[in-house]
């Protein structure tokens, strides 16, 4: 049943110009950044040869690309998740799901999965750019993979938050803005680096960025992995509760 809902969600995305526009925008922007990075690398190459233990092409092109990709995806996710529930509540199509023999858990997970597949396609398309360098250079595949994993986990967590926020309102635009604000706040929260001791630990732990950066260095730390899973689970759980609550309230 989850698959049925997810498939419809995905199909619906591709039927609207929104998804295509967003994909085109992401690819266009990141392709430009990618070209700039390759160009930089080209110019640095001569000097790198003389260094011991010099950073490779993965560090100098792929990692910075993923760094930029996060910003683009954090802006993209809210636009994808905003319609999930708010639109269905506004047009009252949610009644179809609520009167069908499916549980709230299936509804939320189905919609989440639909968005997730779309975002994974996006991440794969982004990763194709640095992968194309494999034609003429040696890539650190391990680092590339952790980078992709980090990006996927981050977008998964961000869309879980988006799913929840879109259950709160019947206005997609409100959901989008709330999600965007929330994600950017969590992204930047550890910038309060002047904070000392426990405050710093806390901000550091909830920050989306700090957990992401480790992946880009090629580190797979289970703390980071669990952080993203927990983050997603919490917001999906909240979304399920919220839907149950709506049945009682309106």
């Amino acid at each position: 049943m989850i698959i049925v809902i997810a498939a419809r969600e995905l199909r619906s995305l591709f039927l609207s110009p929104l998804a295509w526009t967003l994909l085109a925008m992401v690819q266009g922007l990141l392709a430009w950044i990618f070209l700039l990075l390759v160009d930089d690398y080209w110019q640095l190459q001569g000097r790198l040869v003389s260094l011991d233990n010099a950073p490779g092409v993965t560090d100098l092109v792929a990692a910075p690309l993923f760094q930029v990709a996060v910003w683009v995806l954090l802006l993209l996710v809210p636009l994808l998740t905003m319609r999930l529930f708010s639109e269905e509540r506004r047009t009252r199509t949610l009644d179809l799901l609520l009167s069908a023999p499916v549980t709230m858990v299936e509804i939320v997970l189905g919609k989440y999965l639909g968005i997730l597949v779309f975002l994974l396609i996006t991440v794969a398309l982004i990763a194709l750019m640095p992968l194309s360098l494999a034609l003429g250079a040696t890539l650190d595949i391990g680092k590339l993979l952790t980078g992709m994993l980090g990006l996927s986990l981050l977008t998964a967590a961000a869309s879980a938050a988006g799913v929840y926020l879109s259950t709160l309102t019947t206005q997609p635009a409100v959901a989008a803005i709330a999600t965007m604000g929330f994600l950017l706040a969590l992204w930047m929260i550890d910038a309060a680096s002047t904070a000392q001791g426990t405050a710093d630990d806390l901000f550091g732990y909830v920050s989306l960025r700090r957990h992401y950066n480790a992946f880009l260095l090629g580190l797979f730390d289970s703390t980071d992995f669990v952080y993203y899973l927990l983050f997603s689970a919490v917001f999906l759980g909240l979304a399920i509760r919220r839907l149950d609550d709506l049945r009682l309230r309106d």
């Binding site: 049943m1 049925v4 809902i5 419809r8 199909r11 619906s12 039927l15 609207s16 047009t91 009252r92 199509t93 949610l94 009644d95 179809l96 799901l97 609520l98 009167s99 069908a100 023999p101 499916v102 549980t103 049945r247 009682l248 309106d250």
Partner: protein, 311 residues
């Protein structure tokens, strides 16, 4: 055919202080078409939404086809079809896609849902528009798609909230025909604020007012009851009122003006002949004699007014 398909007991739903639905109980048998009638805001939609499992009740029990809707929602909803006031259609999907999705959601396998979609399109007259986008269809066709998605998984209980609202006369007629046909082998609950519609489709009628069920009866009973207990008489030279009252079997006389009278008589008595004989003997100039039917509308209006004066 006395199989109970839906049983509702003391269903209650509050919105803040207002009791939108107040202890409503009824049963639905196979083959029945149950019509909910009532003014706007009477609680019809709220009742139907609770029956469909879209809204949670504050109190009461709903048994659909032997399964408690509140305890085992997924199982109960399997045999339930629901068309909300606004058909739940995705404008960006084609008719085929929407129906297929709806069938899959109700647990039909890929092949079963394919067959169901083909069958229901035939019955609802949607075959010609199967590849059109729902957003581009007229209101009438959208309503048909809405009904189709509610019944394509062959549910035992079908809930239709204002199925013909916004349709023109011809479209309403078609939809009514469809509902009557469907009603033969399942149970249908529908709501309407159009009396003629309820009279045309339903086997049973329930009138709601301010969240309460104020009247419930089989439509056939109503028609029985209607067996002209009133006569409208037009006389060119009417005798004094008292003379009319003395006629055999007449219980009450009401003057309507311009030589017209309404005579109330016992259901068993048939005063027509006596009246005609009397009229010709005494030269009253009889020019009209019409058995007056108590229409559903009169009952409806009387009940609503009664309830209003009670408050």
């Amino acid at each position: 055919m006395d199989e109970i398909l839906a049983q509702v007991e003391r269903l209650t739903r509050r919105y803040g202080e207002i009791r939108a639905v107040d202890e409503v109980s009824f049963t639905l048998l196979r083959g029945q078409v149950l019509g909910f009638l009532g003014p706007n805001g009477a609680g019809k939609s709220t009742t139907l939404r609770m029956l469909a499992g879209v809204l949670a009740p504050d109190a009461g029990r709903i048994i659909i086809n032997g399964v408690d809707l509140l305890d085992q929602p997924a199982q109960a909803k399997r045999t339930l079809g629901y068309l909300p006031e606004q058909p739940p259609l995705y404008r960006e999907m084609t008719v085929d896609e929407q129906l297929h999705y709806s069938a899959r959601l109700h647990g039909l396998s890929r092949t079963a849902s394919h067959q169901a979609v083909v069958g229901i399109k035939e019955r609802c007259g949607l075959t010609d528009v199967s590849r059109r986008l729902i957003g581009h269809l007229s209101k009438g066709y959208q309503q048909r798609v809405g009904i189709a998605q509610a019944v394509l998984h062959d549910p035992a209980v079908v809930i239709l909230d204002e199925p013909t609202v916004g349709l023109d006369l011809l479209q309403s007629r078609e939809i009514r025909g469809l509902i009557r046909e469907l009603g033969q082998n399942c149970g249908i609950i529908l709501s309407s604020h159009r009396l003629s519609e309820i009279q045309a489709i339903c086997t049973h009628v329930q009138i709601m007012r301010a969240g309460r069920l104020v009247y419930a009866s089989p439509l056939a009973d109503l028609q029985q009851q209607q067996q002209s207990i009133r006569l409208r008489v037009g006389l060119k030279m009417p005798p004094p009122l008292a003379r009319l009252t003395q006629l055999p079997g007449i219980e009450g006389v009401e003057e309507l003006g311009q030589g017209r009278f309404r005579l109330q008589h016992a259901a068993a008595a048939a005063p027509h002949q006596a009246l005609v004989e009397q009229a010709s003997a005494e030269n009253w100039g009889l020019w009209e004699l019409t058995p007056e039917q108590v229409s559903l509308e009169q009952i409806f209006v009387e009940l609503i007014l009664e309830a209003e004066t009670d408050e």
